[in-house]
Every structure is written in C-alpha cells, then in structure tokens.
Symmetry: C2
Subunit: 333 residues, 2 copies
C-alpha cells in the first residue's frame, strides 16, 4: 500500500486540512538507474507556505492536485542505482508519499551512525548548512573575536551563534522576546542578548554589548539593525548577508545610510549568499556539523510528530507555534 | 654636499615655493644596520597636499620645519645593513634629501632590470599595487566577464582597467571628460566609456553599456554611480570598494538605496580595502606588474622633471594639471 498527499487548494490565510487530500496509489518499482525509497522523516517548514501561493519567487510554486514536496529522509528499499544499495539512507527534496522512486541525482546520503536521522532535516540539513557555510566560508571566525548574530533564536541564527562559540568567539545574539534571549543564553551559551523589540536605541544597545567592536556580523534581518551593527564594525570586519527579512515586505526601494565609506576605511567585507552556492561542499559541512553534534558542542531542539497522516496538521501547527525548534514528522523507522 | 627641503609654511590654497625652504646639510654616514641612500627619483603626489594641513587623518600630518616625505627611489651608496649592498636600489617613503641614512625596514627593493626605476613610483608603486590587489584578490577576474571601472582615467582606475583586459574581460570605464574617455579607449583598450559629467541617467547608460550585466565593479567613487552599478550587478558579482570620493566632502551621514537585499538575492560580495593590507605580498604584485609592463600588456604615462631643486615646483604644477600621468622628479642616475 502507498499513499500521497496532494495540494488541492491554495490556502487563504492560515492553511487548513481541507487544502490537502490523501490518495491511495500503487507502490512503484525502481527502473534502471533508480532507487525505490520508503519515507522515514518529513520536514515541515514555514517557507512551504510561500510555495503554496501561485507566485513566482526564487523557487517554483507547487502545482495544484500534485504532491507537496519538502525535505525528506528515506531508506532505499530496492536499488537499480550504481551508487546506492538497499538499506542506504538518503535525504533531499521529495514528494509527500510513503513510497516513491528517484534517480537520486538531487539526494544526499544520511548516515544514522553519525547523527539521528531527523537531524538531517534541521541542524544537518539546509538550516545547519546555511549557518555553517556563512560562518566558516564568509565569516572566517577567529578565536577571541566578537560575533553579533541577528535572528539569533531562529533555525539558522542559533546554529551560527553556536558555531561562533565553538571557534572561541564572544557571541552577542539579537532576538525578539525575553524568552528567546533566555533560551539562547541558557541553551546555546550565547554571552549576551539584545531583545530588539524592547530596545529603543539599537545603536546604543549594540555599543554597550560589544566593547571590543564587532568582527563578524551574521545578518539575518538587514535594515536598521544592520545600520546599528555597521557603526561598531571593526577593521577587517566581515558581514555575512544571509537574509534581510526586515525589508522583504517593503514596497518601493528602501533607503538607509550609505555604507561604502565604512567599507573602504575599515577594509570591511559584506557578502551575500544562498546555501545552494555550496552544493559541492554539503558533505564536508554535514560531516563537521555531525561531529560537533556528537561531541555535544552543538545542540538542537526538535519536535517530532508521529505518522504519515499527521503531516498536514503538523505543517498547520507551525503557524500556531506548537513546535519547539525544528518540526519533523516521523513516518517509519 | 647634501641638501634637504623643509616645509616652512602650511599652504593656504594652492601651495607656493615660499612654503618650502632649501637647506644645505652634512652628508651622513651609515651606522650599523643602516644604509646611506642617494636619491634618484622623487614622487610628487596630490595627496601630499593633505599631509601639509595640520589635521589628523588616516596618515599623520607633516611637521613644520622638517623635511617633506614622499615615495622615493634611491641607490645604496654605503651599506652596514645585512640585507643590502652598495649599488642596490630601494624604494619607499623617504625625506626630500639628496642623501639620507635609513634602517631600510620600511623600504622595498627596486630592480632596474625589471622596469625603469621611475615606474616604482607609479605603476610598480602604490597606485599600481592598489589596482593589482583589488582586481586579483577581491575581483577574482574571469575571462569573458564584464568589468566596470569608475575613475577609469585615474592612476588606479587606468591600471585596474588594463588588468581587466589582461584577464580577458570586457571593460567599461567611467570618467569625467570626453578627452579621458578617448584616452582610456585608445591608450588602454577599454571597450566602452561613459562620461558621467555629460550623462543624465547613469543607470540607463550603464545598462546600455553592459548587456551581459556586471560581474566585477571596481569602485573608486561610491555614491550614485555605485547605486547605478548595483542595478546591473550579476549573480556572484564582486564589488571592489577602493574609494568613495563622491562622499568624502559630504557633511552628515549620506543616505542611499539599501543594498542588502541585492547582496543576498544575487550572492554579491562588496569588499573595501587599503593597499597596506597586502604589505606582505607587495613583491608578488610588483613582479607581476613588471612582467606585464615588459610584455607591453600594461601601459603607463609619466611626466619626468629634472633636478632636485625642481621638486617643490613639480609638486605645485600638479595643481595646474601640468603633468600627463604620474609626475616624477629625476634627481640622479
């Protein structure tokens, strides 16, 4: 028996279970060059909401009456693929199906001896890799330096902060509630936190928190928090432009202080990126993150829901904040 | 016999010969660890005017009644230094004196077999090295890519443009007169030029000149020309922030379009620098620039004036534009 979950309505406002439809289908068999995959863990993520709209973005919208896709960990049940054999675990963008075939060209191995399989959807998945490559490749972290992270309680920012600590940096995190500030300090050992929602003068708050200036700024938000950070950036500082969520809903061209004089005078680098730039180095990143996880140097939070039939509800629950950390649905062992 | 030139008045407006004083002094002898240097070529540069003001900047002001300093090529006449022997040529920041001693710690070798000695004050000096390290280290130039250069007729911009051509790039230069545009096209083989002073809409002009977008922007000016360039920057584009002269005279904090969304969406790097960041690699840069010069791939313009006594007047003549390219005073052979 096989099942799939189709998107049958484009949600209006909060998604509802009636936007999805379960369908029983045949279990396929692998053709030459393919693997037959059994789904084990399914990632549900807020960004999937965007793909349910009929709007072009940096990623294609989902089609109606077709299966939803997200990051999935699966086990090879049958292989006609040179590279993979029965029992291998793979992770990548797959359909919400219990069984499916794939040529595996876009999939990566997941090693259960290295980390729990669900971790490949979070800290060993795209969010962990985004933090890893931003911090190590662009940030060039050095022991004793000061790292400022915005969105520090988020999936990417919390890993970036912890990587900063691993490299021996002093880490200051910015987040939007006292609860989040407590979490990053207690759980992720961040040295100091700034709740930007209860702070009138971010420039002063950042100045107070960074007596030695800022060597690396991991920026998930852009806008005025970036401006405030640039006031305290050190000579040879690095700004990792990972996101600019403060500007994504603006209409028209937002303006702000010009940064080029600071860049020249202080020899500062600002570099934007998306994680897929590092596709060729994903295995390196996963291996390092898994090692830190095993050594207890990286911590991650996850909420695991049980059963294939629970996938739509788990996705909907994201918008009520019912998850702590990464939300994952366990479908099989 | 030895002579030196002192700064005796801080110039008001255009410098005058009466701001300087010639003085006969004893010819020194080298002590242990020192060389006795005979001055051969003296660089006169507009930036020296800034050091004649009693204002702190990124470089110390000249003292009154003390010798002026600039980049000088000299020959070792006597050596008590382990590293250098009689007849060696050295270049670096030295006093306006016919003879002086130095511990040579801030000096670099100049090889007359590699290039004419005067070139070590221009294309093989700070301006050439600034263009070289900006282009090669930050710009990461690739054959077939498009390079945009602002200040393209200047000492740095003209070398940056030529380095772009050496790497097989399509080069578009921005300058402030039709004469300069003609020069960069005819003398330095730049593919197209934009006279920003006679162009109303720089965004449109840059768009027309860069049908394949901009892969590397060598920015000497900042401000609105940077904004216009960012509108056409390609994915994985690199912006070399070498200067922001358009903003240096502004009072208050200049504002402009925010760039962080472009940086993230297009994975763009912006990096500021000053040439002294690359102090450890100056020899590498000089060797490569000298090779390109010998091979005829790099061209340089210079105006050579004869005689130690002409140094102040040559400096003053800079402000009347009496030089073509780099202004150098020849003192000896």
């Amino acid at each position: 028996m096989n099942k799939q979950i189709l998107l049958v309505n484009r949600p209006k406002g909060k998604p509802q279970t009636s936007d999805f439809k379960f369908e029983e289908i045949d279990k396929p068999t692998a053709r030459d060059g393919e693997v037959l995959l059994k789904t084990l863990y399914v990632s549900v993520d807020p960004y999937l909401r965007g793909r349910m709209r009929d709007e072009k973005s940096y990623i294609e919208p989902f089609e109606l009456d077709a299966p939803v896709k997200s990051s999935i960990v699966a086990i090879v049940e049958e292989s006609k693929h040179d590279q993979y054999k029965e029992g291998d675990h793979l992770v990548g963008m797959l359909d919400w199906k219990m069984y499916q075939t794939s040529d595996a060209s876009e999939l990566r191995p997941a090693d259960p001896d290295q980390a729990p399989l669900s971790a490949y959807l979070g800290i060993l998945g795209m969010t962990g890799l985004t933090a890893y490559f931003g911090m190590t490749d662009i940030g060039e972290p050095q022991e004793g330096e000061t790292l400022l992270v915005s969105g520090a309680a988020g999936a990417v920012g919390s890993v970036a902060s912890q990587i900063g600590k691993i490299y021996g940096m002093k880490v200051i995190g910015i987040a939007g509630s006292d609860e989040k500030i407590n979490m990053i300090q207690e759980q992720f050992d961040v040295d100091a936190g700034i709740n930007y929602k209860s702070t009138d003068d971010m420039t002063a708050a950042i100045k107070d928190s960074t007596p030695d200036g800022i060597d690396v700024y991991y920026d998930n938000v852009g806008g005025e928090i970036l401006d405030a950070a640039m006031n305290k950036i050190n000579r040879h500082g690095r700004v990792i432009n990972c996101g600019a969520i403060a500007l994504y809903n603006e209409t028209g061209q937002p303006t702000g202080p010009r940064l080029e004089v600071t860049l020249v005078k202080k020899s500062v680098k600002m570099q934007g990126f998306i994680v897929s730039n590092y596709q060729d180095r994903f295995q390196e990143g996963i291996k390092q993150l898994a090692q830190w996880l095993q050594e207890g140097k990286l911590k991650h939070e996850e909420t695991i829901v049980d059963g294939f039939d629970e996938i739509p509800q788990a996705f909907i629950d994201l918008f009520d904040g019912k998850n702590k950390g990464k939300m994952v649905v366990k479908v099989g062992d």
